[in-house]
């Protein structure tokens, strides 16, 4: 199916947001009037008539008689202006009291928050582009409410369409309450009390409050939402949230700047006792939110500031500062003052318990709390059966009657983990089923600890995001939204997957021939020749027939077909990849095959069984092992220097008193998981890397696992003194089969090489085929509800909202 047909299919199926990307992708290539019409129809269905009108006119410029474009323009221009207003002066329906948020429903009732965070980064876009349309929000609100959630949280002022969709949804008789965050960058010179910074932040606060009441007209500013806000959603506002995950170095710098003197504050609505300079600033800012809301609209809503374990008011004995650790480990020169390092997680505090309400709807504490980060979330509670619960209970004990909301929690469905967790709730590496199970356990802990509720992170997978572990291998950074990195936990938190391909996965790892119709066949062999025959009844399993390659925004797919059924006990395979197409790379294959690849290889896929298969890399091209050497590039080698790929997920930690040591953790990335991506299959596993069906082996290799730093521009990792990346013309591929002997090494043949068959049939450089693909500027994707959504629905329905 070509792209235009896929776009039209998306329109038929009501996948309008996805259709926008598909038609845009067509238009990246050629300005086809049909694509403009499709693009316009998708925009129109999502409620953006201005964008739709523009697209239809673009179609007419190229095809003045385009009937569809003419008709749509006529319709749009005749249609009465939408929007209008939903202005209702509400009573203030939320308050923060006695450990809970409460809602006024005749009487004040406990409102246990069962929420989900909604981000902004659709595939192909950065958050500041505000690509999500009104119609998409409507669709999502239905799905979120169906899940049993009672609240959503957004991180900043969104475009008017969001509030319009929320008003319409809530007007339909169902309710989703809103936690509205007012985002801020850090002050330029580290002074949160700087006049200009304060002025800008207060403007943002006023804008947010006005937006909620449908009384705002925000001008265009780069990275900010703008437009006419006419829908009053204050009736469904649960609370305002100020700020961000404040970096401890910024807090420390500000407290230092202000002389670290503690003091009190008495505002119009909030008071603070014995607060640090930063806490005073937070209290003043929160007070300003309620003061402005009350002054302007005569009401207030509960207010809080973003907090996280890094700044929590607890003391974490298992975590010394970076400087302490450096001294204890002998890695810091005596007598020198260590600069503050961002790895220091327990040096500064933001204690919202010091803030109390004088009047108004109250103040509460809010934390983003994950079980695996910082390290003290594990190390402080090693003796406790549920460390996460133990942490939350300790936190709740500190806050006493003040409500505490856990406004971010969850685990990602990425292939890799970025932090170890002793209970297996690590930072990634979870199947979609396990994501749901673990999210439910976390929410259950939140409820058991007496929190005011939990908000799952996150609603959908955002491709622009980057985990600290994978930042150096996602380059150029400005192209990150264009491709999906299954390796990166930050991109895989969603309950709603944003997954490459449309209308479905490109390859399902389910033995479907139709998945490969658009693939490129690099090698096909029709004769029955073999490099060596054992005549043991398994020669056909070792005879290679075809090798095809395919790709999408997330993966490289490889299909290997043999003449006979796959039987790993008697036939094994090595597939070599040269992602850089350079003069370097490793040539000697392992397992005693003694086969020298005609071209240097960067990676080697070893297919030895359902549980024993791996992907290796040339030792010179492994990022972890060569860290600190200054170079990560495939050096020419004929040594067979292959290595397993790894990530250091946790650094070594030393307790504050220097008596306890918590080991560093390193995780492998090389193991290939067997399974199918077809949910109906007995071997279903959303993390599956390969699948075997009779005489076919299908592989799904994430681009990021092969050091491809941006497939959309064909960029690969190449670190040397001159830079970090280079472009590649394509990926060269070779394959061999061999018979496993004792110990898994290749059984002897009559010759020096022990392979039984190979691609290319004549292993010389000229015969090696290269997979070449076209880059892209707009990614194609589809969305689907992960298994974890169903688990979240069960969990949310089981948890009472009140009582």
């Amino acid at each position: 199916m070509n792209l235009l047909d896929r776009g039209n299919l998306a329109l038929q199926r009501g996948d309008y947001q996805e259709a926008i990307n598909i038609f845009k992708r067509v238009l990246d290539g050629r300005k086809d009037p049909k694509a403009f019409v499709g693009y316009g129809l998708a925009q129109d269905r999502l409620g953006d008539s201005a964008a739709a009108r523009w697209a239809f006119y673009q179609a007419l410029e190229r095809d003045p008689k385009n009937a569809e474009a003419l008709e749509q323009i006529r319709r749009i221009e005749k249609a009465p202006r939408r929007a209008g207003r939903t202005v209702r002066r509400p009573a203030s329906v939320f308050r923060a009291v006695r450990s809970n948020l409460e809602i006024l429903d005749g009487t004040w009732k406990r409102f246990f928050v069962k929420g989900v965070n909604i981000g902004l980064g659709l595939p192909g876009f950065f958050p500041g582009e505000f690509a999500i349309k009104t119609g998409t929000y409507r669709k999502w609100f239905d799905q979120i409410a169906d899940m049993g959630a009672n609240a959503v949280r957004v991180y900043t002022i969104l475009p008017p369409g969001f509030y319009e969709a929320l008003a319409a949804f809530n007007g339909s008789g169902r309710n989703l309450y809103l936690f509205q965050e007012i985002w801020t960058e850090l002050p330029d010179r580290g002074d949160f009390e700087d006049g200009r910074f304060t002025e800008e932040l207060q403007l943002e606060i006023r804008s947010a409050v006005d937006v909620i009441y449908g009384e705002a007209e925000l001008p265009e500013r780069p990275g900010h939402a703008h437009g006419a806000y006419t829908h009053d959603v204050s009736r469904w506002l649960a609370a305002f949230i100020v700020g961000r995950e404040w970096e401890s170095w910024a807090v420390r710098a500000f407290n230092d700047l202000k002389g670290r003197t503690n003091g009190d504050l008495s505002g119009s609505f909030l008071a603070l006792r014995d607060g640090t300079p930063f806490e005073r600033w937070i209290a003043r800012t929160c007070d300003y939110v309620q003061e402005y809301e009350h002054r302007t609209f005569g009401l207030t809503h509960p207010v809080t500031a973003v907090n996280w374990p890094t700044l929590d008011p607890l003391v974490h004995p298992s975590e010394s500062t970076y400087e302490q650790e450096a001294r204890l480990q002998g890695t810091w020169p005596e007598g020198e003052v260590a600069p503050f390092d961002e790895n220091s997680e327990d040096t500064e505090s933001l204690d919202m318990a010091k803030i109390s309400a004088i009047r108004g709807s109250g103040v509460f504490a809010l934390y983003h709390a994950y079980p695996y980060y910082p390290d003290f979330m594990n190390n402080d509670y090693l003796g406790r059966p549920n460390g996460y619960l133990a942490y939350l209970q300790q936190l709740k004990l500190h806050h006493g009657d003040q409500p505490v909301l856990i406004a971010e929690f969850g685990v990602p469905t990425s292939r890799e983990s970025a932090h170890w967790d002793r209970q297996g709730w690590q930072h990634g590496g979870h199947t979609e089923i396990d994501q749901g199970r673990i999210n439910a356990l976390l929410m259950s802990s939140i409820h058991e600890a007496g929190m005011a509720g939990g908000i799952i992170f996150s609603w959908f997978d955002e491709w622009f995001k980057k985990n600290w572990l994978f930042v150096p291998v996602q380059l150029p950074a400005e192209r990150k939204p264009f491709w999906f990195n299954f390796q990166d936990p930050e991109q895989n938190y969603g309950l709603l997957a944003a997954y490459p391909g449309y209308p479905d996965k490109t390859v399902h790892l389910a033995g479907r021939a139709e998945d490969w119709t658009a693939a490129t066949t690099l090698y096909r062999k029709t004769d029955k020749a073999l490099a060596f025959r054992f005549d043991d009844g398994f020669d056909e399993a070792r005879r290679l027939v075809q090798l095809s390659v395919h790709h999408d925004e997330g993966f490289l797919y490889v299909l290997l077909i043999t003449a006979g059924p796959i039987d790993f006990a008697n036939a094994r395979y090595l597939i070599g990849l040269d992602t850089c197409s350079s003069e370097g790379g490793e040539r000697l294959l392992p397992f005693g095959v003694n086969f020298h690849s005609p071209v240097g290889l960067t990676h080697l896929i070893e297919l030895s069984g359902r549980h024993d298969s791996r992907i290796l890399t040339a030792s010179s091209y492994d990022r972890y092992l060569n860290e600190g050497s200054g170079e990560v590039r495939p050096a020419a080698s004929d040594q067979g220097a292959w290595v397993m790929m790894q990530n250091k997920t946790n650094m070594r930690r030393i307790s504050k008193d220097g008596t306890r040591f918590y080991p560093a953790r390193v995780a492998t990335m090389s193991r290939l998981r067997f399974g199918s991506l077809d949910r109906r299959h007995a071997d279903y596993n959303s993390l599956a890397d390969f699948f075997v069906d009779r005489n076919r082996i299908e592989l799904r290799i994430p681009w990021g696992l092969m050091n491809v730093t941006d497939p959309s521009s064909r960029t690969v990792l190449w670190m040397d003194p001159n830079g970090a990346t280079r472009s590649t013309p394509g990926i060269r591929v070779i394959a061999v089969s061999y018979k496993p002997g004792p110990g898994g090494t290749a059984a002897p043949t009559s010759g020096p090489s022990r392979h039984t068959d190979c691609f290319p049939g004549r292993p010389v450089p000229e015969q090696v085929r290269q997979y070449v693909w076209k880059g892209w500027e707009t990614p194609v994707y589809h969305t689907y509800l992960k298994d974890s959504y169903l688990e979240a629905r069960k969990m949310f329905h089981d948890l009472p909202e009140g009582a």
Binding site: G330, T331, S619, D622, L625, N626, S637, G640, R652, V666
Partner: protein, 261 residues
């Protein structure tokens, strides 16, 4: 066991009357299993036994893909001749923290066993700048894996002492050795809940008396510092070890393993 000075002198006299050291060390070979010696795993070091991380990882992968299996001393008695052909023992001296980040994760993947020989007085501290050593917490983590056995490397025989005149040095060192090993075993028992069985001599400074002292302190497997192939004997009193090169030459690495004593 802590020896008094009198007991120490008596032991010394008994050892001097016993058969020559070389004979004791090589009696009754039971296996041709080679023992590899590694120390720190890092990119830059003056130590010839220090191996860069990519080289070490490639060596382990080569062992795995060539069908080798790394075993423990306890596995030796049950080893048949065929299995012994592709078995080896990995030893890591010095107790460097790099073992945790560059060796243990790989060994776990391959199911390779190893012994890590720590220097008691450096445990949980560092010997020099940028030289942190494993802590007891980490030793327990390693031991709990079932793959790693923790042993001892006597600090009294480290290079600083070796600069002293050999004859006096040996006598002085042996005297100190008794105290050191006794103290090590006491601490080891407190921290690990058992006694250490492996001792790795850091330099060519041990003699028959040193061996007897070590045996009396409860050590069962004594790893030597001679870099050559050698048969592991039932006596296991000074097993020679092989020191893999720090350069990326895997053909030489494999040849090293295949050389027979």
């Amino acid at each position: 066991m802590r020896l008094t000075r009198r007991q120490f002198l008596m032991l010394g006299a008994a050892v001097l009357a016993s058969p020559p050291f070389s004979a004791a060390a090589t009696a009754q070979p039971v296996s041709q299993v080679p023992v590899l010696l590694y120390r720190d795993i890092r990119h830059r070091s003056a130590d010839p036994a220090c191996v860069p991380p990519p080289v070490f990882a490639a060596q382990m992968e080569r062992l795995y893909s060539s069908g080798y299996r790394a075993i423990s001393f306890a596995d030796l008695p049950g080893l048949n001749a065929e299995a012994a052909q592709r078995s080896l023992i990995l030893s890591f001296d010095g107790g460097y923290v790099s073992f945790m980040t560059h060796a243990f994760p790989l060994l776990s993947q391959y199911g390779f066993k190893a012994n890590v020989n720590i220097i008691g007085r450096y445990t949980g501290t560092f010997a020099a700048r940028y030289d942190p050593r494993l802590s007891w917490d980490e030793c327990r983590t390693l031991a709990q894996s079932g793959l790693i056995e923790i042993g001892c490397q006597p600090a009294g025989m480290l290079p600083a002492q070796k600069a002293m005149p050999p004859s006096r040095a040996t006598a002085t060192m042996n005297e100190r050795l008794s105290e050191e090993l006794s103290a090590f075993q006491n601490t080891f028992r407190q921290e690990m809940g058992s006694r250490a069985l492996i001792l790795a001599w850091p330099q060519d400074t041990y003699d028959r008396l040193s061996i007897e002292i070590a045996k009396n302190a409860g050590f069962r497997y004594l790893l030597g510092s001679e870099f050559r192939h050698g048969a592991i004997s039932r006596d296991v009193s000074g097993m020679p070890r092989l020191r893999p090169g720090r350069e990326q030459d895997l053909a030489m690495f494999e040849q090293l393993l295949e050389k027979k004593p």
